[in-house]
């Protein structure tokens, strides 16, 4: 008996050594993504879906989060040849990686048709798709129901126009006085640009140049900054907060313009806040609304040694099962069109309601990806600076825009 055991042990050891010796037997796929809560989420997905499906292929999958500035870290790793086989790529920074040939074109590797078209577009350059949207977000109006009730003003709704929305905010301010505000206005292109899209502004003309003096942009800029008139709208810093979510949680501000990321924050930081969600208001003239779509995609490293295995992992991570699980756990909003009728969206909780509006936002009116062109994040800075200058009353709108256009020209002619 002992001998048999010993023999068995020897044989299994030999097998182990052989397995370790030949590289093809066991493949490890490394995934890079965000830190924070993502290691828990992706770790859970790997355990639940990827491991069982790939057990027989002898593929192991590990997740390595990148802390701090994700793009900077990923660039370093790609330069050092040490990045994961599969990794997150935010839509707004795709171009740099495409230009340097670091991403594998996924045409023929993954079927892109089941995904929402605007999300595929965000990752497509010259007919080649470089990433599959993992999940996405759009902007919504999140409002404090108690404040509107107290002011006896109707809640914002999906039919609101710029003017009717502004009137509602002004009525709230008038009814409640000094300590309360209509909206929190973050001086950020990412919270204002959707109004410009609604007015018909194109971020880039045919030559790739940006015109901030376009009447459509000017009207949106003036509308957004005009909301701060008579303190109807305030910057988050004026109520000692660092973003609109904090404003809403404080119970002093009626409306915040944010995406689905606010839901988790409110659940933790303002558990008894009664809030609702509505779509971004429509432009009075065009009758359309605008929106950003913020998305992060799964991409494959062009330099991976295990292309087939990486593609398998990517296909599992974007599969209907995984996306449905992620949605039903309330973690993110899936990128597959087939999930728009999921029961989760019909739930009556404020969080699920917000998810529904975010999902609708991606296909209502002029929706553009959150994107900076080929100059990177610096592109949005002149706009955000101008917004801050006007909202804090340092400059007139005309002056601020003139200077922003100058800075923009300098940047784009560089």
């Amino acid at each position: 008996m002992k001998k048999v055991l010993k023999k068995a042990l020897f044989v299994s050891l030999a097998v182990l050594v052989a397995a370790a010796g030949s590289a093809s037997a066991q493949t490890t796929i490394k995934i890079n993504g965000y830190g924070g809560q993502d290691p828990a989420i992706v770790g859970d997905l790997i355990n639940r879906f990827v491991k069982p499906a790939l057990a027989k292929d002898k593929i192991t999958v590990v997740y390595q989060p990148l802390q701090g500035d994700y793009n900077q870290q990923l660039t370093t790793l790609l330069a050092a040849g040490n990045a994961g086989d599969v990794f997150y790529v935010p839509g707004e920074t795709l171009d740099g990686y495409v230009a340097t040939g670091k991403l594998l074109a996924l045409n023929g590797v993954v079927n892109t048709t089941p995904f929402i078209k605007s999300l595929n577009d965000a990752f497509t350059r010259n007919g080649k798709t470089y990433a599959i949207s993992k999940d996405f977000n759009t902007l919504t109006l999140i409002y404090n129901k108690d404040i509107f009730d107290e002011a006896k003003v109707a809640y914002p709704n999906d039919n609101d126009t710029w003017t009717s929305f502004q009137n509602k905010l002004a009525a709230v301010k008038k009814a409640l006085g000094n300590d309360y505000y209509g909206a929190c206005l973050a001086p950020d292109y990412a919270r204002m640009g959707q109004f410009a899209f609604a007015a018909g502004w194109q971020p880039f003309d045919s030559k790739g140049k940006t015109n901030l003096l376009d009447p459509a942009f000017v009207s949106a800029f003036n509308y957004f900054t005009g909301l701060s008139k008579d303190k109807v709208g305030v910057q988050p810093s004026e109520v000692s907060q660092d973003w609109s979510g904090g404003c809403l949680a404080s119970g002093k501000v009626a409306v915040a313009i944010e995406g689905n990321w606010i839901v988790g924050f409110l659940k933790d930081n303002a558990p008894n806040l009664k809030y609702g969600t509505a779509l971004i208001p429509k432009n009075d003239k065009t009758g359309k609304r605008g929106n950003f779509v913020f998305t992060v995609g799964w991409a494959i490293n062009a330099g991976t040694k295990n292309k087939a295995a990486a593609a398998k992992v990517l296909n599992i991570l974007t599969s209907p099962n995984v996306q449905q699980y992620v949605l039903e756990q309330g973690l993110a909003i899936p990128s597959r069109t087939s999930l728009q009728n999921n029961a989760y969206f019909k739930k009556a909780t404020p969080g699920a309601e917000n998810s529904k509006v975010v999902f609708q936002g991606a296909s209502s009116g002029t929706v553009r990806p959150y994107y900076f062109g080929n100059k990177g994040p610096d592109w949005a800075k002149p706009i955000s600076t101008a917004l801050a200058a006007v909202l804090s009353g340092q400059k007139s709108s005309a002056d601020a825009l003139k200077q922003a256009q100058q800075e923009m020209d300098t940047l784009q002619n560089r």
């Binding site: 809560q37 828990a40 390595q64 802390q67 370093t76 979510g245 990321w261 303002a270 008894n272």
Partner: protein
């Protein structure tokens, strides 16, 4: 114009008074300066410490006297913890227990006179490591509100939270955690044994599919069977709403959140115990980073990693810096000045970031992208060599000469004569190296990839990244205060060793 004696005396007295005034003024300036400096340096730490205990660390204006540090409320938190779980420190809510909570509501004559609406609500803060939903008290416990008295317009109410056990079985009560279920619910006993759990009442069977693995539960052992008594909740979140016109004037604990113009109070935990009340964020730093798979707290691993790294760095610095410093100070060998200029001075002038890519690639090729690579990367501190060199140069040469006369070679001289004299410099070196290692951020961020390998500094970034960049400040501050403590302790203990060597008295003449 002759001066009388009285005038001279008067002038002298004036001068004395003037001198005394000057002395006081100087002392005053000095004290004012020290006061300003201490406020400047201690103020942020103090505010951080206070804010780390608050429910809303961002509150403005910030309060200095907070209920979390008021004996009255700490006593009540202790008492509520005893009611909920029999533990005044940890708190929580266990099956079969009843908790009472008092609230006073003012209802003026023209306002509604009804009682407040009370309910438990689900509350589970976003965690770094676990996304499994924990059972919520609201699904298991009932709340009732009874009026207990009236003084003028103010009525007081007693809110009773009742959490009945899910089984009527009697026997030994065991605290356990649920394990991965198969056809029946399983639990892992404290000894590590996995047992099947019997759900013997309709109320218990109702919950079979809503309980997730890793949920803390209480079991009753009767015969050879384990019956589910119910989940153990870390928190009992309670919400109290009054109608327009009414106001809440007092409650057993102050609310953690106020909404609806002060008419909606949320208490994130009415059975906190002292740890859950005053040190809530500190407990969260450990408990909310506990990996459900391994049962180990990430934060705890980060602390251990940081200590290990700091220890390695300090030991390496003491060995290499003192040797190199002594050689550069006292030995004569060709190229000594060149080594000093290139190896010590020039290296200090080059910023760390310049070497980033080359060192990274080197460490990667050596397979050292871990804590050992981090150690290797900062093995010899040029600043430390410089410090030791300057120190040894200041030592009297006669000490070595007398050692040489007694027959000691260079090594013997170093280890038996010079190094024992170098205590203060070594302590200074150790403290600066410890502090440097403890606060090191750049290289650990670049090199360490698995969240179990992080150092504290990198781990704290994790806390900041919850909610996509909108930090959980209470948690960040608690983590930061915890990470500051070792440096403060080390400094306070070791600063008294910064004393003179006494080597100047070793040489006569």
């Amino acid at each position: 114009m002759t001066t009388t004696l009285a005038e001279v005396r008067k002038n002298a007295a004036d001068l004395d008074r003037w001198l005394a005034r000057r002395r006081w003024a100087r002392a005053g300036w000095l004290y004012a300066f020290m006061l300003v400096m201490s406020i400047f340096f201690l103020g942020p730490f103090l505010m951080g410490l206070l804010s780390s205990m608050k429910d809303n660390p961002n509150e403005y204006p910030p309060r200095l006297i907070i209920p979390q540090l008021t004996p009255q409320y700490i006593g009540r938190a202790y008492n509520l913890g005893v009611q909920g779980a029999g533990s005044g420190w940890n708190g929580g809510l266990e099956p079969g227990r009843t908790v009472t909570f008092d609230v006073s509501v003012r209802s003026p004559a023209d306002a509604p006179q009804g009682p407040p609406t009370t309910a438990l609500f689900p509350y589970q803060p976003t965690s770094l490591v676990a996304i499994a939903r924990q059972a919520q008290a609201t699904e298991y416990a009932t709340v009732r509100t009874v009026e207990t008295g009236q003084v003028g317009e103010v009525r007081s109410y007693r809110i009773t939270v009742d959490y009945p056990a899910l089984t009527a079985q009697q026997g030994e009560v065991i605290a356990a955690r649920l394990a991965t279920p198969d056809e029946n619910v399983n639990a892992k006993l404290p000894g590590g044994q996995i047992v099947a759990v019997t759900l013997d009442t309709p109320a218990a069977q109702d919950k079979q599919y809503s309980l997730n693995a890793t949920q803390a539960v209480e079991l009753v052992k009767a015969g050879d069977k384990y019956y589910l008594r119910g989940p153990v909740f870390e928190r009992t979140p309670l919400q109290i709403d009054v109608q327009r016109g009414q106001s809440i004037t007092a409650s057993t604990l102050p609310p953690s959140d106020r909404q609806n113009f002060g008419r909606s109070f949320a208490y994130r935990n009415i059975t906190p115990g002292v740890l859950g009340y005053t040190f809530n964020n500190y407990r969260r730093a450990f408990s909310e980073t506990t990996s459900p798979q391994t049962g180990r707290s990430l934060f705890f691993s980060w602390v251990l990693n940081t200590f290990l790294y700091a220890f390695l760095r300090v030991s390496a610095a003491i060995v290499f810096c003192s040797l190199a410093g002594y050689a550069l100070a006292r030995m004569d060998f060709p190229g000594k000045n060149l080594i000093f200029i290139v190896g010590v001075l020039f290296v200090q002038m080059v910023p760390d970031q310049v070497n980033l890519v080359s060192n990274y690639v080197l460490l990667q090729d050596l397979g050292l992208l871990n804590i050992w690579g981090l150690w290797f990367n900062g093995l010899v501190a040029a600043g430390g060599v410089f410090l030791m060199k300057q120190f040894f140069e200041g030592m009297p040469k006669e000490l070595e000469e007398s050692a040489a006369i007694d027959g000691a070679g260079p090594l013997m001289t170093f280890f038996r004569v010079m190094l024992p004299q170098a205590g203060p410099a070594l302590i200074a070196l150790a403290i600066t190296q410890f502090q440097g290692a403890w606060n090191d951020f750049f290289w650990p961020l670049v090199i360490l990839r698995q969240n179990t390998d992080y150092l504290l500094t990198v781990g704290l970034v994790n806390f900041r990244q919850l909610y996509g960049g909108q930090g959980d400040y209470g948690l960040i501050l608690a983590g930061a205060v915890l990470s500051a403590i070792p440096v403060i302790v080390i400094f306070v203990i070791f600063q008294r060793y910064f004393v003179d060597t006494g080597s100047d008295s070793a040489v006569k003449g």
